[in-house]
Amino acid sequence: MRPNIRTEADRSPEFASWITSLPGAEKIRECMHCGLCSASCPLFAYMDHSPRQLMHLGREGFRDDVLGSFTIWLCTSCYQCTVECPRQIPVTEIMYALKRRAIEEKVYTKHLPIPVLAREFRRMVTDRGRISESWLVMKLLLKTGVHRMFGMVELGWDLVRTGRFSLRKETIRERGDLARMLEAVGSDGEAVS
């Protein structure tokens, strides 16, 4: 457990200016800490830092606290906080940006299934243009612990039985086009150099 004290050396001014330079995120500076984002978040109960705290930590530049937080991986993009925020801080979009940066900088728990899902998802879409849900789920389970599969046997059987578990590998026709497009769009340049 990290001690509950921070010195100025723990702050990364670069991180603070990066986060407030995200589109709309300059409004973090106007946050009045009303806590609407936290209280409206359906996943709040499982978070280590509330969205409000996370925004504040980001604004102050506590990079390690923010990127290491479990909170960003819990966000399901339900946009409740974004809609409620009286200061119009785009909390959900900031969460996305934090996920991207955490993945880029590889700062997250290794077996956390969420980034694994994101990576596998991307791989499948990039290769084939579509997602085959059954394959995606199986890959996810393989990578994050086979033991998890046992709890799912019954559910899996239900799906197979109702014809909702297909082993077909979905794909688009113009896979080459898609690959060229993803190549041509270039990189984000959102994260700092």
Binding site: P42, L43, F44, A45, Y46, M47, S50, L74, T76, S77, C78, Y79, Q80, V83, P90, Y96, A97, K99, R100, I103, P113, I114, P115, L117, A118, F121, R122, V125, G129, R130, I131, S132, E133, V137, L140, G151, E154, L155, D158, L159, T162, G163, R164, F165, S166, E170, I172, R173, E174, D177, L178, R180, M181, L182, E183, A184, V185, G186, S187, D188
Partner: protein, 271 residues
Amino acid sequence: MKKLAYYPGCSLIGTGRAYDESLRAVFEALGEPLEELDDWNCCGATSYMSIDKGKAYALASRNLALAEREEADLLTPCNACYLVLEKTRRHLADSAEMGHRVRRALDAVGLSYEGDVRIRHPLEVLTQDVGEERIKEAVKEPLKGLKVAPYYGCQIVRPYATFDDQYHPQTMDRLLKATGAKVVPYPFKTRCCGASQTGTLPEVGLHLVYRLLNEAKARGADVLAVTCPLCQFNLDAGSTTSNRSRSSTSHRSSGWRSESRPRSSASIAPW
């Protein structure tokens, strides 16, 4: 009505197969059979956006370009696809920089997108373009006596309120009433179902599902009606799993606190 290109999305050809089949049947019955967008690709969902913004927008925009080539609007039944496509449409219009990058990428494969495609959801099309009157006429077996809790999910009302009220959406209520069903008041209409967390962190996701189901039951609903394949999967699969694992769902909040008063302790939070 401008021509609609049907964009089922990956879930509707997977776990959401039933949704796909019934949607096609409904539009067939209304005399407006669905035509699928040729060679559509995955919208990218939330996962792709978590990795690379530019590629995520490029991915989604290919579908917009394909629809524009067919001079059609996109009809998508999946809430996630709906939001991703709508967000892409808006972002390409608002952000010169992203618009430029994405158009360059489309150009590389001979596609273009001028911004003439609307993103439409079956709820909108059925209530606005088709209209409740025509639906009432087309109903063969009214759902009389069936009590339904309408569940809209998050992403068709947030962050953008496009065709329905953000806090108290009504389109599904109207549609259900047109089919003869009784709509029960359901305050969690737009509360999150946990999305992919049911797969990645089942104990977290299932808890959200439990709340939704429990509330529907408390309101006297026989069934929940959903508009999104992922919501459906979660609520459907969760209706058995969450009950079963309820006893083992020990994730009582570290942050949640409830005021406890003798009078209302029974009716407080379900966890």
